[in-house]
Point group: C2
Chain length 211, copies 2
Amino acid sequence: MIIVDAVAPRTRIQAEKRELILEAALDIFSRHGFRGATIDRIADAAGMSKPNLLYYFRRKDDIYSALMQRLLDTWLQPLRALDDVGDPLTELRGYIRRKLEMSRDYPRESRLFANEILEGAPRIMPMIAGELKTLVDEKVAVIRGWMKAGRIARTDPHHLIFSIWATTQHYADFDVQVRAVLGPDKGAAGRYEDAARFLEQLFIEGLRPKG
Amino acid sequence: MIIVDAVAPRTRIQAEKRELILEAALDIFSRHGFRGATIDRIADAAGMSKPNLLYYFRRKDDIYSALMQRLLDTWLQPLRALDDVGDPLTELRGYIRRKLEMSRDYPRESRLFANEILEGAPRIMPMIAGELKTLVDEKVAVIRGWMKAGRIARTDPHHLIFSIWATTQHYADFDVQVRAVLGPDKGAAGRYEDAARFLEQLFIEGLRPKG
DNA sequence: GGCAATTTTGACCGAACGGGCAAAGGTTAG
DNA sequence: CTAACCTTTGCCCGTTCGGTCAAAATTGCC
């Protein structure tokens, strides 16, 4: 994917302020969705006036798009790192761990992405059906290779990937529910440790080759 | 949970029109979230004028609340049905199947719920921290009992429930992504069959008692 | 058939929102 | 120092949105 800033920053101030705006916008968009977020609130969170913000991003969509482009690249990195040559179970364990760490360290990005998909992915459909599908197909082939070689149990690689996405992102996207159900005793650190242990056991035992 | 219609329907027309509105509102809210949905669009989808709709539900929030109350009860039913006395693996397999069927048959409800949680559950937090937590605690105790008796593998029951929620709801909430990644060849029926097979294998193998 | 209660409509309101604009205020390179 | 450029601001506009209201149309009951 090629990352293109709608307008390349020409000055020091532009680079700084754009960063400030994107940071604030990530906060607001991830909490309220595209329609629920207002330019005023983003400007407020970024500590500037609305016209000033609009000087850096001409339209609300521009902010959102910039955020999406930046998000998508980091979002696919864990899957990209899934390596053909390593030990299958180690590779998959690593993938699960990386995805879970992304949920822990970038929950706003996860929610932003979830929001976009929930609404039907109106703005990132091309990337989903293009780049993402290509990458998944590639990794599905890798996993299928492992299965054919008897190195992991036979199952559906697509759905394996889906369930890794689902279980790991759940801890970012449904965070409030997870916290409420677990009760106030568990801190964030403990939650993620328990989740990592559980998911590792679930997927590794579920995938260990038979016989 | 007690279901209270804000205003009890007094006439045949009220009962019918309220139903019509809720059906339309489910469609719009689940696709655009609370803020993204407008009364005009809901009224339009319900085939009536905005003031007419507002005659049945005085405020936008009232429609949303009515929808939520109705949703929550059906939403918990699959977990309620998880039975202490049955065979553990059969019970869990049944729970997974029921949850997956809910995603298949009630995707709009699933997305509505997901949207609410994503936004921090501002309107249903009491129910999450109350009724839902109580139910989960109860079922966690059941599962823990099975583990102590050596009938399923030892693991974290809370996270087991979370991952069943995550994997099954994924097929409703992230439907467009799933479809795009799988490609156009797979119909909805095939998708859900494959998912059911995969999830059964994953969880059952992952939980089979050792030794 | 007529009257009361219910339902529907059109016209309207204030607030919030996305965005435009020109002028004022800063920065920076020569 | 200053001219050219960049940044910030206040003010404004048209639209959309949630919601009101009174009057018209319809329904249900005796």
